[in-house]
């Protein structure tokens, strides 16, 4: 088994899995029909991508019992390697949108770089996903503009979300040992090279949205090492309930 490759794939997939789960929670609870449907549609795109990643990770793992389902549902909290940003709760619509906005910008830049990976499977998944994630980015950045440049109330609330979630953005660029090994092999994406473009990309939208760019340099990290916030346990108990109650269920 190629342990670094396996960990690398899991790291990418878990971001989409946990964010997809968070967005899925909105199903039937979105603030309007259109945003409810958008949330679940984006969730569906992310889960579709996750299936491709997990399918590949299961092959790479060398464990003949590993499947998409065991990887999604039967790991323990420490084995999930998603960034802390994506596990943050749907506090209100502004938080949901800003979390999406911070992630989509990264996701789009990341996939555009992954498209040229030496690993053909990862390159193919990236190529497919870019088309979908472009729509996600358009949706979330559009809503940031609308909320920021909207009413006094929407401005106040989106500003709070922008400031609160800001401290989770730096972790997107953090590199684990697996990340570094994959970069050397031409398989992984050098995320540090994306950082400047990323902050410019979100900065431009925040400016249009009449929202000041946060200046805080205090960053939270740990998710990529499997050390999560208190929210993660609740997500997993919700997500894993069916599979643990009815073992061997299939997607």
């Amino acid at each position: 088994m190629n342990k670094d490759l396996y960990n690398y794939i899991i790291g990418i997939a878990d971001n989409s899995l946990i964010l997809g789960q968070r967005l899925g929670e909105l199903c039937g609870h979105g603030p309007s029909l259109e945003t409810d449907i958008a949330g679940t549609n984006i969730s569906l795109d992310l889960f579709g991508q996750v299936r491709s990643y997990f399918h590949y990770a299961a092959q790479v793992s060398g464990d003949e019992n590993a499947t998409e389902d065991t990887l999604a549902f039967l790991r323990i909290e420490r084995e999930y390697k998603n960034v802390l940003l994506v596990e943050q709760p749907n506090t209100d619509f502004a938080y949901t949108i800003v979390r999406q906005f911070y992630f989509d910008a990264f996701h789009l830049l990341f996939l555009k770089a992954l498209e040229t990976s030496k690993d053909e499977t990862l390159a193919a998944i990236a190529k497919k996903s870019i088309k979908e994630v472009s729509y996600h980015w358009r949706f979330s950045s559009d809503w940031v503009r609308r909320l920021g440049d909207g009413t006094e109330e929407s401005h106040t609330r989106v500003l709070e979300a922008v400031n609160e979630l800001w401290m989770y953005t730096d972790e997107l660029f953090h590199q684990t040992e697996a990340d570094k090994a994959m970069i050397v092999q031409g398989v992984g994406v050098d995320t540090l090279a994306l950082k400047e473009t990323y902050y410019k990309m979100i900065g431009d939208v925040l400016e249009e949205a009449t929202l000041p760019i946060p200046e805080s340099k205090y960053w939270h990290k740990g998710g990529k090492q499997g050390i999560h916030t208190e929210h993660m346990g609740y997500i997993l108990s919700d997500m894993q309930y069916m599979q643990r109650t009815y073992p061997n269920m299939e997607w």
């Binding site: 449907i37 569906l44 795109d45 992310l46 889960f47 579709g48 190529k127 979908e132 729509y135 358009r138």
Partner: protein
């Protein structure tokens, strides 16, 4: 219509044309452009299909439907899902586009026009009910991930627009 990136044996086409997209029943999977390869060898038909969107729930159903369509014709089919090259709305055939429009779904525009339409910069998406271009975007995401929801300002009808994917 057979695209360059397709490899389908002619005698299998009519069977595949009989399988429709479960979410858009007027559209055959051939017109949708999701069948990439179909080759019969040693009594087994191997079919490669590509998802429109990664999470498209219709893919499993399409796979099952292909297997049963071949079973009816006395053939065993094996389905393989391929991701590359990635599906694009360009692979929808002219006949498919016509079927979409008749069914009430506006066919995808070019990438540039699509962007203008979804950003609300230009009124170019034609209402499938009355043909007016006085339409506006209600939501970037419609009844499925591949569609956006529009409303016509002339006849007031809401309708789906199949988003350009390229």
């Amino acid at each position: 219509m057979i695209l360059e990136t397709q490899n389908i044996q002619p005698h299998l086409i009519s069977i595949l044309e009989g399988v429709s997209d479960p979410e858009i029943p007027v559209l055959s999977i051939m017109d949708m452009g999701v069948v990439r390869e179909a080759i019969e060898q040693n009594g087994i038909v191997r079919v490669k299909i590509t998802p429109t969107y990664s999470g498209c729930p219709a893919m499993d159903v399409i796979g099952d439907d292909i297997v049963s369509a071949f079973a009816k014709a006395g053939k065993t089919a094996k389905i393989q899902l391929v991701l590359a090259p990635a599906w694009t709305t360009d692979w929808i055939t002219p006949r498919g586009r016509e079927a979409l429009e008749k069914y009430g779904i506006a066919a995808p525009l070019s990438p540039e026009a699509d962007k203008e339409a979804l950003l609300g910069n230009k009124k170019i998406v034609k209402c499938t009910n009355c043909g007016s271009t006085e339409t506006h975007l209600v939501s970037q995401f419609g009844s499925t991930a591949c569609k956006a929801l529009f409303k016509c300002d002339t006849c007031q009808e809401p309708f789906d627009y199949f988003k350009c994917l390229k």
